[in-house]
Symmetry: C2
Subunit: 280 residues, 2 copies
Amino acid sequence: MVQRAAVVGLGLIGGSIGAALRQTGVSVHGFDTDPERAARARALGLVDEVLENIDAAVSNAEMVVIATPVLAVVDLLPRILTTATKAALIVDTASVKRPVTHSIDRLKRPVHALGGHPMAGKEQSGPEAADPALFRGRLFVFCPSANTTDQARDMARSLAAMLGSRPLFLDAEEHDRLVAASSHMPQLLSTALASYLDPESLAVAGPGLVDMTRLALSDTSMWRDIFVTNSDNVAAVTRGYIRRLEELIEIVDSQNIESIAQMMEAGRAAAESIRVASIP
Amino acid sequence: MVQRAAVVGLGLIGGSIGAALRQTGVSVHGFDTDPERAARARALGLVDEVLENIDAAVSNAEMVVIATPVLAVVDLLPRILTTATKAALIVDTASVKRPVTHSIDRLKRPVHALGGHPMAGKEQSGPEAADPALFRGRLFVFCPSANTTDQARDMARSLAAMLGSRPLFLDAEEHDRLVAASSHMPQLLSTALASYLDPESLAVAGPGLVDMTRLALSDTSMWRDIFVTNSDNVAAVTRGYIRRLEELIEIVDSQNIESIAQMMEAGRAAAESIRVASIP
């Protein structure tokens, strides 16, 4: 049984993990580069204690969760591998996994470290948005490196269980390709839609538009790192989307009522499959 | 004060209008081509009475609301203009307005008829999804024809007031261009996204994807008519969106962290403006 965990980065994801671990009886040390945000996370009861530096936060933990944007994960990982106890699990939560597993690959020795990506989130960010139930019923994807020990995989399964989520082990290449389609491209479509609309059309904005631009409100520094590090997959899959959209424009342009009805029925059936696949 | 109204088409919008009018003390006669759906609307208390044919439903009403897909509005309008009392307001609720105002234009005499479009909706359809509060705080756009009387405009304002919504008078050309951007294109983007995704990427589908494909669940027969009748505007504005999306792909492809951060900040600011403009 895990007794002490550390969470580095106390935003929505880190704060939610801290709160969920505390509910299972784990004592959680927290650290954030923004001391004010760390204090808010502590005041909200998401962590037991906030430490002034990262080394102090992770030194006694049996489990270290790095919940920062992906470029910071890659920066912090070597230092945390040095400071944390040898037996500790080290896992991150970023949405792109190749930079993390590559950085573990480069160590050339077995470590209890692997990449992680809980498939949960919301457009609000910061510790105030944290929720211990955020991961319940959701997938927690883990991407091992060749250097990841079997023990780390077992500890990762325990972490998922403590959060109420289902573990899924995927190759980092595969993960990054799949989430480019299912998560990163939808974000880009929402950002593009929000910034494309002429202010005059907002006079008649309705609930559908609000829905389709909700993702554009998401934390911008997290998404900046995601697009920088998964640019190849995001560009490729979004170019494919454009080709599909051009096909749909042709159908609309045709004014052929049967083709348009078929297009709508196919979209509706697909949207229903997405719900079956993704709602816990 | 209006005492008797008729609603033709008892789905989400017609049912919600019936329920809202009943709450203000108006007696509502309903009609639907599907007698089973009409019976459900009656059982749910959305209308006072269901009539077996459209002529009986509208004959004594002071206000007739045609809440059907737009091609059916154009079909029904001449008949309802003949059957309804001369003093009655006749208004529809479809999302495309040129076909309706053109059909009133062709009458070559003044009538108490105009196009209407309440800026409210949800992805569920049918009388079970009806809600008398659906229009509260929302815009109700009205598009007069050159044949529309001033009295019809006044009655339309009263209708909006009874639903708790704010009336806005727009030219039908202008309306159809604006809603192509703010409503019809977002629907097409959602339908395109749902039908584009490979089933394998659904293994890692998260809440963002569910958000972005919610519109694709909307009533397909309503949307079929919208795309058929507003194809020119939808195609033009969606081609513009594709050009914007191509610019964003270039930014992602560049892996330039500052340009990507700027792109995300611009999208977030725009999404916030959309909320200010559209949430009651």
